[in-house]
Symmetry: D4
Subunit: 224 residues, 8 copies
């Protein structure tokens, strides 16, 4: 059957307007569309970031495109082109409770890397073994932004926010069963947090948390 | 208008059958019905426990009944008759996150007291200030049952369960606003807890948590 | 009936630990408890911030306390003590869609004012008359943090986030009828926003949005 | 296994009664049933419109039927027979926010085309890049009916309705993740819209929006 | 306590832009604000429409304003100023299932009347007694727009849409108990309707249905 | 303020058509309307059944009407006129779990009495004390229809249906707290029942259960 | 992998106790378990009814069992053994709105047939073409029990119940998209029905509706 | 594609701290990760418990690991290493309503067996045939902990809790259709139970129920 998805109109002025490039949400697009977008970028020698690119979509791309892409199957992200030289600032940590939360955590890490920011990864620090988190306390208190990815461990963002003075961004994750399935329990626990100033993204939205951190970088830099 | 509520059929064999006396859930009953139940108990010189007795229901009772009752407006509980001499065992703590959670916490405490068990109260230990809970760590680790009442601080049962070897019973509470209103967020967070072996009651059900602790006392005593 | 609410244990090290003073959530507390907290602060000549202090709670306080408090009936906030001299930074705007959203917007403004930050208020800019928002575009693009309060106008955070490079914090509000009642529709629309990097608080949580802005100030200042 | 679905009783007087032909909702039907319906229509030389015909259902039809059908895999629609000559009126636009929304948008377009109405397609105009929508403002203001398909961009129907005097029909779409999954967030945002006079269909119901536009055509023409 | 609600910024160009005047949603506003808005309109000799003006809000207005207003307690609407001379077109009916639905039905009728359109009211035609609706069948089939208000009688919009060729706008209503309470059951039944081309408003939104009918009038008239 | 509710169109042929008289749902009607309906019935010497007539509505009726009505404050029902002589058949029991469920149980009983059927009332048989229900087992097994009213005791309809061969109609009730509040938990438990052939009404709909029992009487009698 | 499902304990006295044989819910069982149950029945020359037997489960059974079973892929039911000679009474109709609803409708029909009752099938009578249902009005009015299966056509049970004096049992069905998906909208519409005495089963529970009809037969026969 | 899941940080002090070893939740982990965890345990000659290990994950492990593991496909659990010699105490029963509930019931049994506790299994005792449960009454009344697994038979925990004095832990299960699908109906029925002292786990969480029973063993033993 022919590939009839319409062509895509990019928001090319987005970077100038709000300081964040448009990324390509790959999952709902056809392989033909994705390949066309990549081909355009390669032809113009433009960088490109794709999110939620499923392994089977990735496999179906032309070999030359696959060779050019830096693809990560855990976070479903792909990058084309050189990365900027790493910046020192802002200091950002991505904290995750367990293995189930590593997909969105890695997505956040890689979206930041695409903009030259090296986030510190702190994994497996669920509150059921509180000593694990407390062993990172000093490091976390120096961070300007802490992204906390947690699903079954809905308590983690509150505990972190009680320990650190920087921005705390909770990314509820969807892995889990029973009332945890889909992530609504983790989302609501983060929104209801008793710790002051926790901010929340959509479920599994590591990309959104990273974009918010980029907004922090924009704003803390005074838009210079 | 006449008081037409039907008379109530007590489950008088409950204490012998399952080791827990039937209590009177007062809120949905008419004042006339409640007064009749109390009068019966006074006539038979029987002890009585009432839960969810609203202040206006209490005020409307005959003065002699009000004088005989030990009423607590914070937990909406009332007791009639002498309390048993206090037992040493089991060791039970009732932990609460904030002032909003003191109603169900006190309900649990008083239902236990009605059976001669003095629970230790540990209040105001929300995880946003983790040092408060950790200062009680040694005491909590010696408890056989820890009842944890928390609404906006949905993280508390998980953190407690990661610290103690005894039974952990979460009582989600309903006070809060937005997604926390009604207690569903706290309930789901407790059910989804990453800490192993957390058990949960209905929202605001301090009475149920105390009854479960009585079941613990029954069972740990070997039904002797 | 006696006032049996337990006394409150403050998290007095919070300011040093995370850079935000503990505030008093007044609504679930008894008038006696609130008055005791205020009396303590007055005795120690300490500043104090109360949120969700209902008009009838405020009316029931001792006259001397009412005279000392700066109370705002629209946002249910009360402040005791001198405010710090205003700071220039960070640049923060509080945007609201309609009159229904002014409660949380004013709460955010006053919590910021309590910390010496004068936020710019931009009201009545619902997207049904887009020209109103666009007339503030230049001002908004210079802001480091934009707090957007909207209930029935769930579109507003997305539109704002498409226009500005700074941080965007959506505060869904609960006023509305039908599917809008309670604020869940506004909350979900903000979480699902197609604009990158929108962060969200609990429904009606202007206090939380202001605390997040204080975290921004902490972090952008480098914790110096 | 034999094909035991019962035969279908068409509502053959529907066109005369309400001005809209009955269409065949293919998805819940067996291939045998669908083939029988198509065979009947071909035998009687009747036109036919099928919706939600899945690619695997289409593939399983007899080759002769597949040759006779005009099938569109993006919108899952199939048409049999000649289309009426195009009419000038009414002027209808189908607006969509992103690629994820093109399925229902195309379904609406093709259902209208089956009745001889050429709708104007305006795609990729999500509010995160508002300039894209505003560049179509003049065209949109001349439209009698604007169908707006949007899922993650739940703000779009409100923004459009604030710009145009014609009818605005929102079609919430189901593509998205987290709170957006399934389309309920988009649906509720459209229903709660602050812009006056937005009407809404079921999630993904491009067919229903097109039928409503046909009702507009019936009514605006005075049923002549 | 002083009336601290901020002043309101009207969308004064709305009528020119989209053909519908801005109305005042009174319920979430303070009496002082409402009185100020009315005073402004009286001073400028401008017409004004208020919706959801509660009886106690109305009672608290100055006597002179109450005398000038045409207030309807069933629909909570108030109008100031002369009504336009009635127009013949479009032909609109407002159908309601039962007494519970008369509030939104009357709201729709009066909002239309404010624009000079006399809608035909057809009440008490719930499908449990189908003969009542069928007795109006001829009249309904001549209508260009039929607004159907129904709560417990969620079947009514589908039945009407199966009978008439004009536009059908369902207004789900909130009165009812059990699963019907709040109107979500009626809303979902209308959205899921098997009858083609039913459009839906928010629960109880008679105002929105009337505005949609005004958009019909705009569009059917060709914007002349 | 004048009483502007429109007059009510009765479905006077309902009794002939489906064997059940139309009843008046009083709660959403104004006192003026209710009084007019009663006056009409008294003038025509017609019997009348009102449901959900609130105590304050009842109090506000003219004294002569109050004297003529048989009003029951527990079930909110009122009857006017003579009751038919009691019939022997069908044999119907109304079973309720606790005091909280007596409102709907009594509503069912009185609606049946209005048609001359004396239902057997069996109260206070919650499954927490199973011996209470089992003591009625013989009686229940002879019943043709068993109406089971239960809220917090969601198990009761299943247990009854496992014991009896007659029709079992579950009426979920709304009294309760936490997840039980509003009756959805009881409703879903009844619908999901593992016992075969349990049928369910809307929450608190004792009237509906009684009407279903009247349909049973119609049908079992062969419509003679 | 070995088939480790535990053996099943039948409720063999059910038929004597409540007049309905236990049926086997096949879907959650392993093929090994199902085959063992069938083998037992064949060895004892016992009749057997299986529900929700999926096609792939059926295909995996031993050939001899497949030959002995009367399997229906549309309703997922299988019967073993001779059917009783058909009875005249009770008169039962199974009405369905559209093709999507034929699965549960056929399940009800076959479960009744297993007990010797021939139900009248009336299909494709959705209310969007009301004439179709009205053409069966005389027949329906003679039925003792009418089972109404409807999903997207949630109006159908109300319309039927307004026309007939017999018992009306609504079976909401799950086929549909958007708000109709899963059947909750159809369920709630049936529960909220304005027509008196509609009873409801779980979604897709044609088996339960048939069992309720068997209870009717039990009860109407006077348990003789 | 390379296996990029991060390594796992075990909570190795958990057994000492809370008396329960950390188990490995296998489902969200990659096969490579699971194999590495098993290899580590085998190298250190450590025992290991894995939960929710799917059959396809199990099949993909190295043959030597499969040989060493005791895997159960019904409960998705796997154990490595010797089991402790069985203890007499505590006395625990695992009760299940039907075949659909055997997965979580077996999970609970095996997690207990891993700690040397032999639980008594009581299956197929749904309340629709109450005699089955009552035949086990004496045995159940001697149990210290009764774990009750039930989905469609949401009544079972309440009935059990009315019969026994020991601890009652309800495990709602997810198998079922319509309102029962996913387990929320069973969960809410257990939480709302009228029987005093029922405690609840997340849906399908047999592991959690077993851990709670281990906490009982810890506490009843006095932590000696």
């Amino acid at each position: 059957m022919p590939d009839t998805h319409p062509s895509v109109m990019f928001d090319r002025t987005r970077k100038d307007r709000i300081g964040i490039e448009e990324a390509v949400l790959a999952q709902p697009k056809s392989v033909g569309q994705i390949a066309a977008i990549i081909a355009d970028a390669m032809a113009e020698d433009r960088r490109l970031l794709l999110t939620r690119l499923q392994p089977d979509q990735h496999q179906a791309l032309p070999a030359a495109q696959r060779a050019a892409l830096d693809y990560c199957a855990m976070s479903y992200t792909a990058m084309l082109g050189a990365r900027p030289s790493p910046r020192d600032m802002p200091r950002i940590a991505v904290v995750s409770a367990g293995t189930s939360d590593s997909g969105p955590a890695t997505e956040a890490q890689r979206v930041l890397a695409y903009s030259g920011i090296s986030a510190t990864m702190i994994a497996d620090v669920g509150v059921a073994g509180l000593w694990r988190l407390l062993s990172h306390q000093d490091s976390l208190q120096r961070m300007q932004v802490v992204i906390v990815c947690a699903g079954m461990d809905a308590a983690l963002p509150s505990v972190v926010a009680g320990l650190v003075p920087g921005m705390v961004i909770a990314v509820p994750t969807s892995v889990g069963y029973g009332v945890a399935a889909g992530g609504r329990a983790a989302l609501d626990a983060a929104l209801a947090s008793c710790a002051p100033g926790v901010l929340v993204t959509n479920i599994d939205n590591g990309y959104g948390a990273a974009c918010a951190a980029l907004r922090f970088a924009n704003a803390a830099g005074g838009f210079t």
